[in-house]
């Protein structure tokens, strides 16, 4: 898929431009440059591999935010069938940043809760840049309860810069909406598989992120605070975001090491935005495999494991205390 290049991709672009020149030169003067073209193509492949295998945390954040990156509804269209979107929280409104509904994943009937960003201004206004209001989190809970009632597992697709920081959000109690989801998802009596497909922005992401299995795409990130905001607080300046991104340990590999996520789903070379179908095929396969395993586990055992999985997160020192001391 054609997409605007990111800064660190410029060397590849430069090589591609030179390759193009070489080819046109060859055509115009009818000289055989085949071996040169071949070595140039090799060099491009090698450069790409070099760049994409050594992405910094900040570069991955940029890929995760890429405007052409597949969004939740792109995955829903490709990984799932028979999608029926269900609207509204039955109290206040329908949050377009949080599409929820029924869908089939292969043979499995599911409910899907997701966060959706927009690709252009018009779409972003509609989707509020993927920042949900309280009614979004409450719609997600309503649909999860529906899943619990009809024994349909929950598939959560996470992609948000964060819950929306606005006046209406506070008036309708965004903090409570997220907190209630955390509590209720911990004891929801159907399997939950959550995947961070792009941006995992803090509490807004976690608000649909309690699950038996937490997956993350190779170039997605999941962070307690955005690198920019962290930079503004700790360096008193937003321009240290790349260092903040590094310090926060927000990449898929870092999160695997910390035990925050259970599995990394690989992306097409250069990022999911380069091949939506392949990205979706990878995700679909990972979801089916994880869901199958979760469905084979008795629900009480699954709930115990779900609690234990989050319960053990955290790192601290504790002196040994003698019994009865």
């Amino acid at each position: 898929m054609d997409s605007p290049p990111l800064d660190f991709e410029k060397p590849i672009l430069e090589l591609q431009r030179r390759l193009q020149e070489l080819k046109s030169h060859s055509d115009k003067h009818e000289i055989d440059f085949d071996s040169e073209v071949e070595s140039m193509e090799l060099k491009i492949r090698e450069t790409r591999r070099q760049i994409y295998e050594n992405l910094t945390a900040w570069q991955r954040v940029q890929i995760a935010r890429h405007v052409r990156r597949p969004f939740a509804l792109d995955y829903i269209a490709r990984c799932f069938t028979d999608w029926v979107e269900l609207h509204g929280d039955r109290v206040f409104g329908d949050d377009k940043a949080m599409p929820c509904g029924l869908a089939k994943l292969g043979p499995y009937r599911c409910v899907v809760i997701s966060q959706q960003k927009g690709r252009d201004t018009k779409e972003n206004v509609k989707r509020n840049f993927g920042c949900a209001y309280p009614e979004g989190y409450r719609k997600a809970l309503r649909v999860m309860r529906l899943g619990e009632k009809f024994n349909l597992p929950v598939m959560a697709l996470i992609d948000t810069p964060g819950a929306y920081p606005g006046i209406g959000s506070e008036e309708r109690h965004i903090a409570e909406a997220i907190a209630v989801n955390l509590r209720e998802m911990m004891v929801l009596r159907v399997p939950i598989i959550a995947t961070v497909i792009g941006e995992g922005g803090s509490g807004g992401a976690l608000g649909i992120g309690i699950a038996d299995r937490v997956l993350i795409l190779e170039n997605a990130y999941y962070s307690v605070i955005s690198p920019e905001a962290c930079s503004a607080i700790l360096w008193k300046d937003r321009k240290h975001a790349p260092e903040a991104a590094e310090a926060l340990k927000l990449t898929a590999d870092d999160l695997m090491r910390l035990g925050v996520v259970d599995e990394v789903v690989s992306e097409p070379e250069g990022g999911a935005h380069r091949d939506h179908d392949l990205a979706a095929a990878n995700l679909g396969a990972a979801l089916r495999r994880n869901l199958k395993r979760a469905l084979e586990t008795p629900i009480d055992e699954l709930l115990r494991e779900r609690y234990a999985k989050f319960r053990k997160l955290g790192n601290f020192a504790e002196p040994k205390v003698k019994n009865g001391a």
Binding site: A175, A179, Y307, G314
Partner: protein, 281 residues
């Protein structure tokens, strides 16, 4: 010989201003200067305008719990710099600085106690320690005290104050929201009461987890309570914020909390609520 001698110039008034710091406090409520002794005697409430100053966790526990009934649990839990976080200052340096300044190991005290004879599992956050941000230690101690309540059939009382998650611990700090909320789910399954008390300020990750999950939610008067910071909201929305936005009074008006209780009445209010919900005294 002059009868009246011009008195020598004295600089007494200037000397007065050089009092040891901390002896006088300017009240954020009315702007008046209040003497420390007066504040201590008045539970750190402004005697003129009732503004509630920040209280330490120790002070709160002493005022809320029956005398000598508080038994601290998990006192030795200490934060670790898992991420080796380097910003303008390292996390390690920050921790050491606040440990020296406050005499605390981290931002919460937890344990079990009696309130008017009712057994409670109680945690009190201390804003003076790194803005009472929630890292692994805060999350673990709060989770353990909730689990203590669940195991012993006790009510849980958490007095919160917090700037949110502790970013120096990255995603491990965010996960404390999940841990604490999950522990409350199991506590609730046993039909045990949880009373959440919000003090100035309670925000972000703490507000978006256990603090919003009280069976009854109480706030201190004029406490700043919210999810996003007012500056962030202003920058995002380019709107003027409503009057008293994100105050306890604003939350009560919008139906988001049960009660606003003056600090001096808090202990009796907790006891009254516990009498409705608890069978153990």
């Amino acid at each position: 010989m002059a009868i009246f001698k011009k008195p020598a110039l004295k600089t007494e008034s200037r000397k007065k201003r050089e009092m040891p710091p901390g002896l006088w406090q300017k009240c954020d409520g009315c702007g008046e200067v209040v003497h420390e002794i007066e504040l201590v005697e008045n539970d750190r409430v402004c005697p003129r305008c009732d503004y509630h100053f920040t209280q330490t966790a120790k002070e709160r526990i002493a005022k809320l719990c029956d005398p000598d009934s508080f038994v601290e649990l998990d006192a030795g839990l200490t934060s670790i710099d898992t991420l080796k976080f380097q910003g303008m200052a390292s996390y390690k340096d920050r921790l050491r600085k606040y440990q020296d300044k406050t005499g605390l190991i981290d931002a919460v005290l937890s344990g079990h106690a009696l309130i008017e004879g009712y057994k409670v599992a109680i945690a009190v956050m201390d804003f003076s320690f790194l803005a009472a941000t929630m890292g692994s230690v805060v999350g673990e101690r709060i989770t353990r005290v909730i689990e203590y309540g669940t195991a012993h059939g006790a009510a849980v009382v958490i007095v919160a104050a917090s700037g949110g998650a502790r970013m120096y611990e990255g995603m491990l700090s965010l996960m404390q929201m999940a841990k604490t909320s999950g522990a409350l789910a199991l506590h609730a399954e046993k039909r045990l009461p949880f009373i959440s008390v919000l003090t100035n300020p309670t925000t972000a990750g703490v507000m978006a987890s256990f603090s919003s999950l009280g069976d009854v939610i109480i706030a201190e008067p004029r406490a700043m309570v919210g999810f996003a910071g007012p500056r962030v909201i202003k920058e995002t929305t380019h709107q003027d914020l409503p009057e008293r936005f994100q105050t306890a009074e604003f939350l009560e008006e919008h139906g988001l909390i049960d009660l606003i209780v003056h600090r001096k009445q808090l202990r009796m209010q907790l006891a009254q609520l516990l009498a409705y919900f608890s069978s153990t005294r």
